[in-house]
Symmetry: C2
Subunit: 155 residues, 2 copies
DNA sequence: ACATGAGGTGATACTCGGTCTCACTAGCGT
DNA sequence: ACGCTAGTGAGACCGAGTATCACCTCATGT
């Protein structure tokens, strides 16, 4: 608990820099987000913070997403997942089984997208690239399941 | 009205090929979809077919999307738009102002995505590439607006 | 330290897109 | 023509998110 003060300080700092009031609920949401690994739904944050109102959780997430602190990825069904935006520009690897979202980057891809963008009629504002995958964890589990059922058949 | 029989026939044919019953509601939904240019929301179809139940409209759209007859694009906010899937594999140009969705294809992009996919840990199931744009129509309108306001300032 | 007021909060109602339920209907094989 | 069963439609329900509005609290000026 000795070092936790610095996390609070950084969170307060960030909220300050966004030009908004540093309130207790925002602090709580931001701290929880900062502690997250990987992508999460707004609702999961809401559930983990019963002391903070739903509206406030959603408002704060929107605030941080608009400020570029969070980045938003869409699952194939369109439901959004948020994650801390660690790197300037990146794309997503979305696991179709466990719905985890990983970042990935490729300079070559950016270059090609930029080239393609130049040929597109109209003005290109941005792009989004998502790979839908089975992540290694899910593959391993799948493999384990298969091995189990084979063992069952065999014995 | 003389030629409309052939559209009906093609719609019936398609429904048959999907291995499902050819019912009046499905026919109506499929015919309306066939007449659509560009992308549309499920709700808009529902509104245009007051004689067909909401559940049936959504069910039919899902059916056709799963069969690959329709393809689904997600707007930046995650709301889905459907369009007739004219070509085997394509990506989308989504206009951020008027929300129209256009298809685009690039062999080079596919090649690179395939290469990148090979390096991704896990199993790649698919990918999605969207360009967010201002379409030429919206740009033109914007230009017209600007010209108007300049004229106002000048006169 | 205290008053002040604008920005923020939270309970709750609402919206929107979509699915589920279930009694009823109609397509289609016989 | 009959009967089975897939399909239908009204409406309840759901999940994610927004709007409303009385109340609260942070930050500032004195």
């Amino acid at each position: 608990m000795i070092a936790s003060g610095s996390v609070d300080d950084r969170v307060d700092d960030m909220l300050h820099r966004l030009g908004c009031r540093v309130t207790q609920p925002r602090r709580e949401v931001a701290r929880l987000l900062a502690s997250k690994r990987g992508a999460f739904s707004a609702e999961s944050i809401n559930e983990e913070l019963p002391g903070v109102g739903r509206a406030t959780v959603y408002r704060t997430i929107r605030l941080l997403a608009e400020a570029g602190v969070l980045c938003k990825a869409l699952l194939p069904d369109g439901s959004p997942r948020y994650s801390i935006d660690h790197s300037w520009h990146h794309h997503h690897l979305i696991c179709s089984s466990c719905e985890t979202v990983e970042e990935f980057r490729s300079a070559e891809l950016e270059r090609l997208l930029c080239e393609l963008g130049a040929e597109i009629p109209g003005r290109v504002l941005g792009h989004q690239v998502d790979f839908y995958v089975n992540c290694p964890d899910c593959l391993q589990e799948e493999g384990a399941d298969k091995a189990r059922s084979t063992a069952d058949n065999g014995g």
